[in-house]
């Protein structure tokens, strides 16, 4: 049976002629779908962009790293209880490093916030990360210029810094940061390395400064202030769980806890962060898609409306088609095709607009156009067309040919 194929073909050409005959009406109807699809695509592109940047932001932490810290990153435990925990000290770190057998690397990490100056340019509240030369292996840093500090520089608590890309471009717009001397607090430091751009929303290395931990102790803090984070890198992703169990046991031993006492520290993992941000993106997704979906729905109602008008207008034509042999199915297909064609044309224009807009927005905000979004948009347009056309098409299909032919 070729009939169905010919009917589809005829349906398409009818749809095309009907749209051509009512250009303004079709264009206004398409506008609804156009706006809806633009909004949906733009929203999903933005969500994808946020997701990507969270992912890359989190992955700068390294997926097989554990962070033994005074505070739990995300937990229901009372803040006050954690606040009263004892700080983790360098002595704790040294004992831990000695006792722990499973980790690949164990490094200390100490944060400090300071103002960084170069000439008349300055950055307030720059985050200093103090560690030792092994810290590099817990990261996925690439260097634009220079290198990380060496073991000798680390052990000697030298006044050297590695700066993130964003800091470099703020202080040295001409890109000549290497070997320059910046002032942090009251002391001068030599820049020995500039990181390549990392692009991430969370805790981006682009905005951080890395220097030997001893240097922080020497210049900013007494040994008894500030809590150290112990960064533990597992040998491979499969060993993260075992390493975590060992780390907890070792740390309890270091802290001298009896078996009745609770942990007075937390073992944090990137996973906790990922799931926290997952929850946020889910909320954004649902809210965003609901709102944009609503605009698509309004567009669909507009199409349904116009399709009802179109069916009414062409009652006599429907009667004639039925009289000369069109079945209910044929008429149904004809009107479904018409609303689908309107929706797909509107949707394609919407898609183009969304792509152009997201390229523009990308200057200010991370967006990401995916092939699946393109396919999804076309699919949604088609679905909207069928949804909007179903009731009018059904009305047309079940018309009585005698009544329809008599219609004036």
């Amino acid at each position: 049976m070729f009939a169905i194929f010919f009917e589809l073909n005829e349906g398409l050409s009818i749809a095309w002629r009907a749209i051509k005959a009512n250009k303004i009406r079709a264009a206004l109807t398409m506008l609804g779908i156009f706006i809806g699809i633009t909004a949906v695509v733009l929203m999903s592109t933005a969500i994808k962009g946020i997701e990507n940047s969270i992912q890359s932001g989190v992955s700068t932490l390294g997926s097989d790293n554990l962070y033994i810290d005074k505070f739990a990153w995300f937990s229901n435990q009372e803040f006050w209880k954690m606040r009263n925990r004892e700080n983790i000290t360098m002595e704790d770190f040294k004992k831990f490093k000695e006792l722990a057998k499973l980790p690949d690397v164990v490094v200390p990490l100490l944060y400090s916030r300071q103002t960084i100056k170069y000439g008349n340019r300055k950055i307030d509240d720059g985050v200093l990360n103090g560690s030792n030369s092994d810290f590099l292996t817990t990261t996925n840093f690439d260097f634009e210029l220079g290198r990380f500090y060496s073991e000798i520089e680390s052990n000697g608590s030298r006044n050297v810094v590695v700066i993130g890309n964003e800091i470099a471009s703020k202080l040295f717009p001409r890109g000549d940061a290497l070997d320059k001397v910046v002032k942090i607090g009251a002391v001068n430091y030599k820049i020995i390395g500039v990181l390549a751009r990392m692009e991430s929303l969370f805790n981006s290395p682009d905005n951080q400064i890395y220097l030997p931990i001893g240097t922080i102790f020497k210049n900013f803090a007494s040994r008894n202030r500030g809590t150290v984070t112990i960064v533990v890198k597992a040998r491979n992703p499969q060993m993260v769980e075992d390493t975590k169990i060992e780390a907890e046991g070792v740390m309890r031993k270091v802290r001298g806890l009896s078996h009745k006492e609770e942990n007075d520290f937390s073992v944090n993992q990137q996973e906790a962060l990922t799931s926290f941000f997952d929850n946020i993106t889910i909320v954004i997704k649902i809210a965003g898609l609901f709102i944009t979906g609503l605009s698509l729905f309004v567009g669909a109602i507009g199409i349904m409306n116009i399709m009802f008008v179109s069916v009414k207008e062409r009652t006599k034509e429907i009667g004639l088609r039925k009289a000369i042999g069109a079945t209910r199915r044929t008429i149904l297909i004809q009107f479904l095709l018409e609303s689908s064609v309107i929706c797909i044309i509107g949707g394609l224009f919407g898609l183009i607009a969304a792509i152009l807009l997201s390229l523009m927005l990308n200057q200010f905000f991370p967006t990401s156009i995916q092939y699946d979004v393109v396919i999804l948009a076309i699919f949604i347009s088609l679905l909207t067309g069928i949804f909007a056309g179903l009731a009018p098409a059904y009305t047309a299909a079940k018309m009585d040919p005698v009544e329809a032919l008599r219609f004036e």
Partner: protein, 239 residues
Amino acid sequence: MNIINIEHIAKVYQVGSEEVHALRDVTLKINQNEYVAIMGPSGSGKSTLMNMLGCLDTPTSGIYDFKNVSVSEMTDNELARIRNKEIGFVFQTFNLLARSDAVHNVELPLIYAGVTSSERKERARQALIDVGLGDRMHHKPNELSGGQRQRVAIARALVTNPAIILADEPTGNLDSKTGEEIMALFHEIHERGNTIILVTHEEYIAEHALRIIRLKDGLIEKDETVEKRYIPKAKASFV
């Protein structure tokens, strides 16, 4: 050969709480190559009978056999198929698709019959040549005169080689001279061996047929052979 066999058919419409008996008890036979006119005043059941003959509607009771196949209990889709294959409709108001040219209008029933595009075009062209519109293939209805439009409609009715041509007041919207030309075309179509059923309320149009069935109040009042048949003098086609 018998084409239409109707026995005691009736059609009752429900209008509000009232029953309207459009057809009460009609029995008639129509054979191949007959030329029948159905006449009657408005309200006589003439339109209902035509819808019934054209398989646009099914009777409330009685037997309707079309080429020995019972139509009375057919589904909508089966009726659509029989209309497509066996019946060629010609309407008073032509009922052409305004946005399509003559060829596309004529090939329309062939689309629903599942005929391939090239064959459709070929047959539509031939049908248009047969009704004398060989030079108007790609004109749209608004570029054609009333008579030419009705010729396109007749070509559309002929293109599927149907068993009967069912014409409902085919000259009702035409001036008398053009009407005469259309009647001449029907005469020619009948001469070629087709079966024609003509619904009209004008005596002189009915007299082009060989047999006149007169309806009144849903019953056949008279079923007579035309004694003095009117043979149109106008030339049928312009070929």
